[in-house]
Symmetry: C2
Subunit: 224 residues, 2 copies
């Protein structure tokens, strides 16, 4: 049946890509493990690129929807008052990390997400940027509201660092277990989320280094 073939390909591709990366996984490997014909990928998806996009989009869409929903809820909770930066961070971090704990499927996706973010191929970058355009815009504004006392430049850098901590944890959650001699348990989603929120909120709210801030005001062209 068609739907089963399509689903099986998607599931198998997701699993293999999350384990090995996009380049290292051939269509022949995917189709042989999925027990479907090699040509089925092109029949159902058109190309490997389109398959990769579908695999990624299928999972990231609900994650990003949940992110926006949590941000909406956080903003609704505050009314017009100050927006706690912890809430913004949680909205950004919790949906993907929570998946890691959920089941094997979720864990696979989180790995794949990190892998894809780190991927260098142009078409992957394009897929990524397309799917994250709204998220970037909404969260940039939210962090601005949550941290009005932090200058724009500093805030942009610190959000960048926070995203780095998140991506790195998603991509490399096993490495921390190895490097910490098993002390840290990356499958503890609640703990991971709370620790990351704690770490990033402290970093985001740190006092601004005045010396560095004053050294900055050379005119910077704002593009686009």
């Amino acid at each position: 049946m068609a739907i089963d073939t399509k689903q099986t390909i998607l599931d198998t591709a997701e699993r293999l890509i999350s384990e090995k990366g996009i380049d290292a996984v051939s269509l022949r490997l995917i189709t042989s493990e999925a027990k479907v014909n090699l040509a089925a990928v092109h029949y159902h998806f058109g190309s490997k690129e389109a398959l990769v996009e579908k695999v990624f989009q299928r999972r990231i869409t609900p994650v990003n929807q949940r992110r926006l929903q949590m941000l909406d809820e956080a903003e609704a909770r505050t009314g017009g008052g100050p927006l706690p930066v912890e809430d913004v961070l949680r909205a950004l971090i919790e949906p993907p990390i929570r998946l890691y704990q959920a089941d094997g499927e979720g864990r696979r996706f989180v790995h794949m997400c990190g892998r894809i973010y780190a991927e260098q191929a142009d078409y992957v970058q394009r897929i990524f940027d397309d799917l994250f355009q709204d998220i970037v815009a909404r969260f940039s504004r939210a962090f601005g509201r949550a941290l009005p006392e932090v200058p724009d430049v500093e805030r942009a850098w610190r959000v960048h660092f926070s995203v780095g901590a998140m991506i790195h944890t998603m991509l490399d959650s096993e490495r921390i277990q190895r490097f910490s001699n098993g002390l840290c348990d990356p499958s503890d989603a609640d703990g991971t989320i709370e620790r990351m929120v704690r770490f990033c909120s402290a970093g985001l709210r740190a006092e601004v280094n005045e010396a560095a801030a004053e050294a900055e005001p050379k005119n910077v062209e704002v593009e686009q």
Copy 2:
């Protein structure tokens, strides 16, 4: 002349890998841009893997030496007293980031470093782990000395987050320029370093969430 060929291959490979990633760069591309014969790679290096290792090792070795040297200096400065976490962070972060500002070569290497760290192939992971074994050990101890009040588990997580911020900045330094509409200048090494140190030190020193810390003490097997 032999040395020139070898150097040219190394330089060209470094440039191309930093731009496109390992998998996306073929030996044919490297040798054609370097204007040397295809077989020269195998003559001088033995294999593509060995070339990649050499390319990476050539640059990372002095970086890691400088890191250890800065850590030594920081520890010498304190005598037996408390070790400022900012000094440890600076020893970790400054050597690679400083390269970014230095010249085109350095910038290329920093990109490549981020790319390689994110690479999924097994042999790349092996190269990386080999070259970083000492660094991991020394810095783990240094962070322990600098943050005795932070429990081991929390500190391991926070160092992991800090490394994530660093890797992400090394890998994706252009993305912050784009996302911040040109506000942030990744070629300002001093600013980048100070901001990252500020961010990470605040995160590393944040108060430990007691609820999370108390939820933790299930017995965790320490492997190896």
